[in-house]
Amino acid sequence: MSVEAASGATARIDLLLIASMVEPNTRVLDVGCGEGLLLELLRDTKNCDARGVELSRDNVSRAVARGLAVIQGDADADLVDYPDDGFDYVILSQTIQATRNPRQVLEHMLRVGRRAIVSFPNFGHWRIRSHLMFKGRMPMTENLPDSWYDTPNIHFCTIRDFVALCDEIGAVMESAVALNAGGYAAPKAPWWFWNLFGEQAVFVLRRK
C-alpha cells in the first residue's frame, strides 16, 4: 500500500511528505503527534515502530484508543528523558514554533534520533510579509488562524532562520523541501526563492 493510498483525503500534505521520507521498518518518535495521524500512516504503510508524544490529554486518549503508543508530555520538558540513539527518526511536525526552547528541542532530537525531520510554517512567505507590510498587523492565515495574544505559536521563524539555527548547532541538512500554496514541492530553487514562496518547509537533519 502506498502512503498516498493509505491516507484519507484529510491527511495533511506535509504528513504525506514526511512519511515518504521515512525508511520502512524503522523506529520513529513523533513529537507533538496530535491524534496520531502520522503515527498511523507510518505504522500501516511503512511497518514502523512508531511512538508519539503529545501535550493534549484529549489527543493522547484518542490516539491510545486507536491502538497507538503515545505518551502525554511536552517536547520542551520530556525529550531529556529519552536515551541517546533510541530512534531512527525523531519527527517534529508543525510544532517547533510552539516550543519554548526550539534550539534545545532540536538538539535533543538529534541526540535521541539518528535523524530529525522538522516541518514548520515559513514566516518568510510573501503573503505573511505583505500582510505585515500593508495591513500592519500580525498575520492570520488558514495555517495560522490564532490571534497574536492567544496563539500556542511563540517562536515563528523563516526558512532562512531555520537554516541558520541548523548551522549554529552543527546539524547537517540531508534534504529540504518547501511546499507552496498548492501543497506541492517547489522546484529546485535558491534559498531566497524558497523563503519567499514556500508556505511550509520540511527538513531532514542529522548529526555531523
Binding site: 486518549s61 491502538g67 528523558d81
Partner: protein, 390 residues
C-alpha cells in the same frame, strides 16, 4: 460505633471454602516466598469470565487492589453487591468477555479463599494468623503464575489492574516479560511512598490497638478487632477520595438533623459516610489480612530489585505498556506514573501514558470514567489485533 458486627459467618467460611473455583497445591509445589519462608499448602481462589480460545491467546489477568478480591464481575457472595470491576468487565464492556477470557485471583495474604492469615493452617488446624510468613507483591505474582500455569496459558494477552493491582502488573512485566504481551498499570507506582507507608502504619496500629486483636489470635479466640479495623478503613478511605469529591458529595451538610448536636455523634454527613464504610468493611474483611496486604504494598520497590534503576526491571522487554493516572489521585499521584513511563522510555519499551482528568481521587479507576474505558478498550483491542485475535 455501636453497630459493629464481627466478621460475618459467610466471610469466615469463604476464607477456607470459597464459593469460587479454588486450586490447591501440596508440599510438592510450595510457594517459595521473598522472605525465605514457604507455604506448603497453597490455596488459590479465582474466578474466570468468558471463554479461553483454542490457541489460549485471549487471556486477560485482572489484578485486584488492597481490599478487593476475585469477584471482579459477579455478585459478591458476602456483600451481595456487583463485582468490583463490573463497570469495566463483561459482555460488550471495555474488557469484553465475549472476546476475552478474564481471570481474577484472590491474592496471597487476602481472605477470600486464597491462603492468608484467616486460612486454616493444616499443620495446626488453627488459622495461620501471624504464623503466615510476610507476603510481598512478588509472592502474590508468583502464586498467580502457578494458577496461569495450571490453566495452561503460556502468555497472557494483558495483565491489568489499579493501585496494589497495578503493582502486580508491573511485577508481572518485570518477572515474566515473555508471558505478558501487554500491561496496563493504573493509578499505581513502582514503589510505595513514605506518605503511603505512614498512612498504612496508622491503619495497622489502629487494628493492633484494639483489645480484641489478641496478638493476632482473635479468630481462634472467637473475637474480632472490628473497631480497630473500622478505624483503619475510615482513615484509608479518605486517601482514596479527593477534597473535591468529598465536597461534592457531602460538603458540610448535616446528617438527618437541622442543627449541630454539640456532641460527638455523627452530625456531618461525611462522618456517617465514613462510619458506614468502616462498619461494612469489618463484616467482609479479615483484620490480619489488612496488616499483611498493606505490608506487601509498603515493601514494594521494584527499582530496588534492579540496583536502584527502575529501567533495569524492563530491560529488553517486548511488552506493550499503557500507564494511566488521574489528576486528583494524591495516593498515587501522576508523578509516580511518570517515573514508570520514564523508566520504560529508558528501556526503549513501547509505552503509552494518559493522565485522565477526574476529581474522583484514587478511586477513579473503579468508577464510571468514560476516558478510562475508552483508553482500556482501545489499548486491549489493539493488542488483540496485533496478536491476531479476531
Amino acid at each position: 460505633m455501636s453497630a459493629l458486627s464481627p466478621l460475618s459467618a459467610a466471610a469466615r467460611s469463604e476464607a477456607n471454602e470459597p464459593s469460587s473455583p479454588v486450586l490447591r497445591f501440596g508440599p510438592d509445589q510450595p510457594l517459595r516466598m521473598d522472605s525465605g519462608a514457604m507455604i506448603e499448602h497453597l490455596q488459590i481462589a479465582y474466578q474466570t469470565y468468558g471463554t479461553l480460545n483454542a490457541a489460549k491467546s485471549n487471556a486477560i489477568l485482572a489484578c485486584h487492589a488492597l481490599t478487593a478480591d476475585q469477584h471482579l464481575a459477579n455478585t459478591h457472595p458476602v456483600t451481595g453487591k456487583p463485582g468490583w470491576w463490573d463497570v469495566m468487565v463483561g459482555p460488550g464492556k471495555p474488557i469484553d468477555t465475549d472476546r476475552f477470557f478474564v481471570i481474577c485471583a484472590n491474592v496471597v495474604g487476602a481472605c477470600m479463599g486464597t491462603t492468608g492469615p484467616a486460612s486454616l493452617n493444616p499443620a495446626t488446624g488453627r488459622p495461620y494468623a501471624l504464623d503466615l510468613p510476610v507476603v510481598t507483591i512478588r509472592d502474590m505474582v508468583r502464586a498467580q503464575a502457578m494458577l496461569i500455569d495450571h490453566l495452561g496459558i503460556d502468555q497472557l494477552l494483558c495483565v491489568i489492574g489499579g493501585s496494589m493491582g497495578g503493582m502486580q502488573v508491573l511485577q508481572w512485566a518485570a518477572s515474566y516479560p515473555e508471558r505478558v504481551f501487554a500491561a496496563m498499570p493504573i493509578a499505581t507506582g513502582a514503589r510505595h511512598s513514605a506518605q503511603n507507608i505512614a498512612f498504612d502504619e496508622v491503619g495497622r496500629q489502629s487494628v493492633m490497638a484494639d483489645p480484641d486483636w489478641r496478638g493476632g489470635d482473635y479468630l481462634a479466640q472467637g473475637v474480632n478487632p472490628a473497631k480497630g479495623l473500622a478505624v483503619a478503613r475510615m482513615a484509608a478511605h479518605i486517601t482514596y477520595l479527593s477534597e473535591a469529591a468529598l465536597h461534592r458529595k457531602f460538603g458540610r451538610n448535616l446528617q438527618d438533623r437541622e442543627a449541630m448536636t454539640f456532641s460527638f455523634d455523627a452530625d456531618f454527613q461525611v462522618e456517617s459516610y465514613l462510619r458506614y464504610q468502616g462498619v461494612n468493611f469489618v463484616e467482609r474483611f479479615d483484620a490480619n489480612s489488612y496488616l499483611y496486604l498493606t505490608r506487601a504494598m509498603n515493601y514494594f520497590d521494584l527499582a530496588a530489585d534492579y540496583g536502584g534503576a527502575l529501567s533495569g526491571a524492563f530491560k529488553g522487554t517486548k511488552t506493550r505498556f499503557c500507564v494511566v493516572s488521574f489528576t486528583s489521585d494524591w495516593l498515587f499521584p501522576t508523578s509516580d506514573s511518570r517515573a514508570i513511563v520514564h523508566a520504560l522510555n529508558a528501556a526503549a519499551a513501547s509505552v503509552s501514558f494518559v493522565e485522565i482528568e477526574s476529581d474522583k481521587g484514587h478511586d477513579a479507576f473503579l468508577l464510571d470514567e468514560p476516558e478510562l474505558f475508552a483508553t482500556a478498550r482501545g489499548f486491549i483491542n489493539a493488542a488483540a489485533k496485533t496478536r491476531g485475535i479476531a
